[in-house]
């Protein structure tokens, strides 16, 4: 609140002082006040032209695998749990084939696909409707394709939730800290506040430190421990030699609601093993 008040006071002060011909005030308000010489991206940071993900749910062996992947995200991002679907915050979650791909129903689909839970998260669309509708640029598309949220700026109008065809966005109907035990908080990462929208950010904060998204890391750890192939891949969709492109090149994959033209960057590998 003090931010707004300060801005208000600035403007109020400026109009008063401008009347008195206070040039210093204009200079004071103008642009960069810090003494910094420059700001830059961490050299360890992972970069890409268009980040994307490929998910092969057939590689999830047990319910526990799903839980580990989801927990990896929930725990580091301080996702609250209110125990009801009304107030629920979801960054990554699971649902059935039917619900994940409601526009591609297929009653005779392989049992293994039909029964298997699919992992859902923000699609980080190439042409994101949520960004198009946001009245404050609180949600915006970064140069690397990530659809990012600036919770500092969100006014909580929820237009983006109406616009997202993938149900990827959650609103803080309640103070998120009420759904989070203090001992479970990750003190390295913020919570959110009441009345703002949030969603998966492809772990922008981890990429900046040179780490891949937490869910993918968890999935690859599971594969390593079990000596199997990983279920989730992450990488630059613009780079043919990236992990994700290599997986997609060899396997048949689909996306959620491609007919809407949003261009999801999350791909689902369906059936047909590499050697099949």
């Amino acid at each position: 609140m003090s931010m707004n008040r300060r801005q208000f006071l600035k403007i109020a002060g400026m109009s008063t002082v401008l009347g008195l011909g206070g040039v210093p005030v204009i200079n004071l308000l103008k642009g960069d006040k810090s003494e910094a010489s420059h700001v830059f991206v961490n050299e360890k940071a992972l970069t890409a032209k268009r980040w994307g993900m490929a998910i092969d749910v057939s590689k999830f062996r047990t319910d526990d695998d799903y839980k580990k992947v989801i927990h990896a995200c929930n725990s580091i991002h301080n996702i609250p749990d209110f125990g009801n679907s009304k107030d629920q915050i979801k960054w990554i979650w699971t649902d059935t084939y039917e619900h994940t791909f409601p526009t591609q129903p297929n009653e005779f689909i392989e049992e293994s696909v039909k029964e298997k839970p699919f992992v859902l998260l923000c699609n980080h669309c190439e042409n994101p409707p949520c960004v198009r509708v946001c009245p404050t640029k609180a949600t915006f598309k970064r140069k690397d394709g990530i659809v990012m949220m600036d919770q500092h700026r969100c006014i909580g109008c929820r237009f983006c939730m109406a616009a997202c065809p993938f149900g990827a966005r959650s609103f803080n109907y309640k103070d998120p800290r009420l759904g989070l035990k203090p001992e479970d908080e990750n003190t390295q990462y913020p919570t959110r506040t009441i009345g703002v929208v949030e969603k998966c950010t492809f772990c922008a904060e981890r990429l900046s430190k040179g780490l891949i998204p937490a869910c993918v890391e968890a999935s690859q750890q599971i594969a390593k421990d079990a000596g199997t192939e990983a279920a989730m891949y992450f990488g630059d969709l613009d780079d043919p030699s990236s992990d994700v492109r290599k997986v997609l090149a060899g396997r048949y994959s689909i996306r959620r609601k491609p007919e809407l033209g949003t261009g999801p960057s999350v791909f689902y590998i369906i059936g047909g093993d590499k050697n099949a």
Partner: protein, 390 residues
């Protein structure tokens, strides 16, 4: 002229305090919402807009309808509207006030509302909605005030008011078109993704708004010495009739496209609203109430000998207004969210607190309306018999 709102009978003040009481109750409930968040409403992750945005949408229509008096009066020189055009303009002011308040109470972070101006985003329809709504509010305040104070002095309004009146005509269309665009451009929301959405909005607005104006005119005649006149009311009645026919026709078009094409996404929301979807049917009784009221109102309006009886016209207008209020103020918004993007169903029903806040906003609107009408009517009573052309 403002002082005229401060002199009134006992009845007038009782009404004012009654409204203030409801506004106060809404405000106290809003403070609770402000502290605890929108979790106190019936809205959810799946149905993320509810009563507030529904009422906002409906009231934009009421606001836009002032143009139905302005066009005949100023473009077609239909003199009979001279006395009541001010009632339309002031109704628009009250309606836009409610719209803006409904948007405000719907925000999760209301203290940041100025971000819309600090970070203007022309690709967002909501940005444009804020622009056109505030512009329309300003236009109607200025036009209404200038013409009325000119009337009081028995002179013509200043020349610069005329261009503003002409601007207000397309502007009225713009507010409801832009509001329709909030919905009609969202991929994956089949119920809203319709090219005739703006046309439907305008048709329902030009039926509902003038219907309310007829009811208000009849109340004004009963309570004050100012008579809006039989003929203008009949003329507005005709406007209501044509607009309602257009509205029902356009809704029929939506039904045809959905059910003849048999595309599930196109049909599901309609099914949910009118017969229930996968066992969820909370809104069905409400939507049928709306449909029956619409069906009842149509013959009453269409048959000339019925419409000419003011009692029948009033009944038809009340039925029609309630019908559209349900359809647009509730069904339209909720229907767009059901089923959700996963073809699942989460139902919505407003909570008591949410309804109290909404009622408070309505009371605030009626308070503004009462004060403005009091001023306009007092002026009209004093200048009775003198007609100023403008």
């Amino acid at each position: 002229m403002l002082e005229k709102a401060l002199q009134g009978s006992r009845k007038y003040w009782t009404w004012i305090f009654f409204l203030l009481l409801i506004v106060g109750n809404g405000f106290i409930n809003y403070l609770y919402q402000f502290k605890h968040g929108l979790g106190i409403t019936g809205m959810s992750r799946d149905v993320s807009w509810g009563l507030y945005i529904g009422q906002f949408t409906f009231l934009v229509g009421v606001a836009a309808s002032a143009v139905m008096l302005v066009i005949p009066h100023y473009l077609h020189d239909f003199k009979k509207f001279g006395k009541i055009v001010i009632l339309g303009e002031f109704l628009a002011v009250a309606a836009v006030t409610m719209c803006v308040t409904f948007i405000f109470v719907d925000l999760g972070q209301p203290m940041r509302v100025l971000n819309v101006i600090l970070h203007p985003t022309p690709n967002s329809i909501l940005f444009w909605d804020a622009v056109v709504l505030n512009g329309y509010l300003g236009l109607n305040i200025v036009i209404g005030w200038m013409t009325l104070s000119a009337d009081r002095k028995g002179i013509k309004p200043p020349a610069w008011v005329k261009p503003l009146i002409y601007v207000s005509i397309p502007w009225a269309f713009s507010i409801h078109t832009v509001t329709a665009f909030l919905y009609a451009g969202l991929p994956g929301r089949h119920f809203w993704l319709s090219a005739i959405m703006a046309a439907r909005f305008l048709a329902s607005a030009f039926a509902g708004g003038p219907a309310l104006l007829i009811i208000l005119s009849l109340i004004v005649r009963k309570l004050t010495k100012f008579d809006p006149g039989k003929e203008p009311i009949q003329a507005v009645g005709k406007i209501v009739t044509y607009a309602m026919i257009a509205n029902v026709f356009l809704l029929g078009l939506e039904f045809f496209t959905a059910f003849y094409s048999q595309i599930p996404g196109e049909m599901n929301s309609f099914k949910y609203l009118y017969v229930g979807f996968e066992g969820h049917d909370k809104l069905v009784p409400l939507m049928w109430t709306s449909s029956i009221l619409a069906i009842v109102s149509l013959p009453l309006l269409i048959v000339p000998s019925w419409r000419k009886k003011e009692g029948v016209l009033a009944t038809a207008c009340v039925a029609l207004f309630i019908s559209l209020w349900i359809d647009k103020g509730f069904g339209l918004v909720i229907g767009g969210f059901v089923p959700n993007p996963f073809e699942g169903v989460t139902e919505y029903w407003p909570t008591l607190r949410e309804a109290s806040i909404a009622l408070g906003v309505w009371a605030l609107g009626f308070l503004v309306l009462t004060l403005l009408y009091k001023i306009a009517i007092t002026v009209r009573e004093q200048t009775a018999g003198i007609e100023i052309e403008h």
